[in-house]
Subunit: 345 residues, 2 copies
DNA sequence: AACGATCTGGCAATCGGTTGCCGAATGCAC
DNA sequence: GTGCATTCGGCAACCGATTGCCAGATCGTT
């Protein structure tokens, strides 16, 4: 900050903790505060000359808008909320990063909250968050449709990996990835496949299962659903007994964490993957290529999903620079070591 | 929300988007808005009876404070900022989770921003964030001391994994973990150890190196520092050549990500870990026990660090419930498969 | 030169809370 | 019943921006 300012002004700003206001600028530039406001946030509304003078004064004072003061009359906090089920789930990474960057680029702040996989905690977090955000992104939410709709009445809501009529969703092309994966397993000679489903309330888990049913029917395979499970490594570990009981030669887990858990449990039980059991997952998280055998998985474009979700919020707020695509996000089958030829059974 | 309200009131609230204000409550309860404000945020200031009546009215209207309106006169946004270098680094998980929960428990909202390991981006993010938060946590910041001090003049700043005189820091007991690790390697017969340092601006990297020097001196070992590197898997991969050139039989990497990269590069180069080269890291991130061989590492209490950091901010804001400990956070050596007996060289 | 259109900048109300100050009501002791 | 301290609740200013409205200045046109 410039140091030789009119003494009284400098003093006043210092007392206020170093933050200058448009009133300070107005005084320094010899104009009315409203003119400062216009010069700084309505480019062109004010004459070039005055605007320049105000800009200069603002710079001299290191001016930054007070976001709260700004939010009060406009009702816009320039903040977007992102609810996730579990921050420590690597799936979230990409979403968060994508969302954070597009938000920052548009001058918005991203607030992240965690529901810990609990519908109640999520509902509470949502209502805590709602008053202070302009829009809300629910990633893999556990909320009931009806609740989501109620929230969507008050503020723009965007869903990731969940479809609810009347609410905008950012969705992956589930069928494509699943049918690639099932075809891959069929090629390897598997005739009986188990699906380890995720939480009951997970829309995307059910969706994957339905896509699997379709694919299996087309290819004449037997499939069974085992579950529900918590979508964690432990959830996958605990599924081993029921997987064995099913006699399936290949398992598709709801996500990579569960697949990793199942691989670990299999190793512990002396079951060789993939010779005795093929295992695949979804998401291609960090860690999937580290584990041995490396995990065959269906990769989703998480970062892009985060970017789009924010883009959709901005669109709903009328603050978007360019239209955001509605196409489902392509998914890719990543074949690694955890799937192999079916054991003769 | 209660449905049979005085028509005019209901209408007004609906027009405003369903959010009730203290003025609505005041009208419904037949008191002055200031009384509502006191009843709801200064328990005891108002008579039991009136307070109860106001509470009831507030419930009927589903009242929630408008955080922006509240923040304006008080200057408190009830928001805490958390700057991290890289969201996709699993180290961050624990910190974020710990921070988010204690923040939420205290009625604060956590805002996360990413600097992408760049000092400039970080400086910009900090100044963007600063006006809207009550306090700031800088986790593994890349900012210069002097800049940190300038920020700390305006708002409470807490550092994680960094020490700057005059600024509160949450620090691990570096020496303990490092000396355990070095002793472990010495026990295995290693006489020459390399340290893969992290970014130049990383205080904690230098700190680990210094602790290593101490430990090595005590035990009469040879140590060399190789670096700096970007603290990522790729950073670790790229270090292999220089590691080999150093003829060290064991490597301590600045963090697990780099250690994992080095293990991968070694495998690709046909170097057997741990028989030909022992590798260890820091942090015990997700993935460290998945890789083969599983990584020997020094575990830090990240979640606790996040909790403490928020606790310290609350303390500085005079909003703490109980004092937060200042002890360094204990670190634990986790021995896994990536370290073994030194190869005869 | 007169006139209407467009620009520019000021005035003042407003967003939804908080809080210092004050007077009225209440409580208590005597 | 009086005196005094305390409790309770209202009034109004204030936080820092935004914005509708308006008047004066400036411009181009005929």
């Amino acid at each position: 900050m410039d140091d030789d300012l009119p003494g009284e002004l400098a003093e006043r700003i210092r007392r206020r903790g170093g933050a200058a206001t448009i009133y300070d600028i107005a005084e320094l530039a010899g104009v009315n505060p409203s003119t400062v406001s216009r010069a700084l946030s309505k480019p062109g509304r004010i004459s070039k000359k005055t605007e320049e003078r105000i800009r200069l004064a603002a710079d001299r004072l290191d001016f930054q808008f007070n976001p709260m003061a700004r939010a009060l009359p406009t009702g816009r906090s320039h903040t977007i909320g992102l609810m996730v089920a579990d921050i420590t789930n690597p799936v979230i990474f990409g979403i968060v990063r994508g969302a954070e960057h597009t938000a920052a680029a548009a001058g918005y702040t991203l607030v992240i909250a965690e529901s810990q996989e609990s519908g109640e905690a999520e509902a509470e977090a949502v209502s805590r968050l709602l008053p202070s955000v302009d829009g809300l992104i629910l990633a893999t939410t556990r909320l009931a449709d009806e609740r989501i709709l109620r929230v969507a009445e008050r503020k723009p809501v965007i869903l990731i990996n969940r479809q609810v009529d009347g609410v905008v969703g950012v969705l992956p092309a589930v069928e494509q990835g699943v049918s690639d994966l099932v075809a891959h397993l069929a090629d390897l000679g598997h005739r009986s496949i188990a699906y380890l489903s995720g939480p009951e309330t997970s829309w995307i888990s059910r969706r994957r299962w339905e896509a699997m049913l379709d694919a299996a029917e087309r290819l004449g395979l037997a499939v069974v659903e085992i579950g529900p499970h918590t979508p964690t490594i432990d959830g996958g570990r605990e599924a081993l007994r029921r997987v064995q009981a099913s006699r399936a030669t290949a398992v598709i887990a709801f996500n990579d964490l569960m697949a990793i858990g199942l691989i670990q449990a299999s190793a512990a039980a002396g079951i060789h993957v993939p010779d005795e059991l093929s295992i695949a997952g979804f998401d291609d998280i960090f860690g999937s290529e580290l584990i041995v055998p490396a995990l065959t998985t269906v990769r989703a474009q998480l970062q892009l999903a985060g970017e789009r979700a924010v883009g959709k919020v901005l669109e709903a707020l009328g603050d978007a620079t360019e239209p955001v695509s509605d196409d489902p996000l392509a998914t890719t089958l990543v074949v690694r070591g955890s799937t192999g030829r079916a054991a003769r059974s």
